[in-house]
């Protein structure tokens, strides 16, 4: 596609529900990143994929967060048993570089998650 596509654009979940956020990166981009952006803050790194391999998941805040990219293209970020502190915008970004951060990141529009 022309850009990074994320869905849904907005998600409201009741505390304790599981959610799944989808990211469709730019075609051919090797690197894929997930960031969490709280209101008024900068994007905070969650996890990084190179093709289907999850090379860095050091930013995932708890074991309730899980990400996958099974075929090296579309990625899903899953949050189990959502908590209010999970409310944020979840940004996905892709890059053509093999080494994360060595070339520009192309961000999607994000999924705004609100946990009530």
């Amino acid at each position: 596609g022309a850009g990074v596509s994320q869905s849904p654009r907005y998600k409201v979940a009741k505390r304790g529900q599981d959610v799944a956020l989808r990211c469709d990166p730019i075609s051919g981009h090797v690197s894929l990143f997930w960031y969490q952006q709280a209101l008024g803050q900068g994007p905070e790194f969650l996890t990084y994929f190179q093709n289907e391999a999850q090379l860095d998941k050091s930013g995932l805040p708890s074991d309730r967060f899980f990400a996958e990219r099974p075929e090296g293209s579309v990625s899903t970020l899953k949050i189990q048993r959502t908590q209010q502190e999970d409310s944020a915008v979840y940004l996905c970004a892709s890059s053509s570089a093999r080494a994360g951060g060595n070339s520009p990141l192309h961000f999607g529009n994000g999924t705004r998650l609100t946990v009530t």
Binding site: Y35, Y48, G100, N102, F107
Partner: protein
């Protein structure tokens, strides 16, 4: 938590005034990238600096990377209302063979016409 510090957090200027935001890291960065995020939008890449002491210009925007590769700045000359948004720096730090972009908290710029 954030390891790249950015100041100021907010800046309000009159249209036509200049604007500068500063980015500092306690450790050496491999490169630094700058992004702009308009209200309600997503971060959009502006530029990447790699070399020590590097200076790059884009029209009214001037980007600098410090000699020690620990700090950077973005300067906008004669701001316009279209410059409104939040400007983020992002520093590349290597952990083993993996690079990780660490974003600052951003400087939110408002421009009064």
């Amino acid at each position: 938590g954030q390891q790249v510090m950015q100041i100021p957090q907010y800046q309000h200027v009159q249209e036509g005034e200049d604007f500068t935001t500063y980015c500092n890291s306690s450790t050496t960065l491999s490169n630094i990238q700058w992004y702009k995020q308009r209200p309600g939008g997503h971060p959009v890449f502006l530029i990447q600096l790699v070399k020590s002491g590097e200076v790059k210009k884009q029209k009214r925007l001037t980007f600098q990377f410090g000699e020690a590769k620990k700090n950077s700045s973005l300067h906008i000359t004669a701001t316009q209302t279209t410059d409104v948004g939040t400007y983020f720096c992002a520093g590349l730090k290597w952990v083993g063979s993996q690079g990780n972009l660490i974003f600052g908290k951003g400087t939110k710029l408002s421009v009064k016409p």
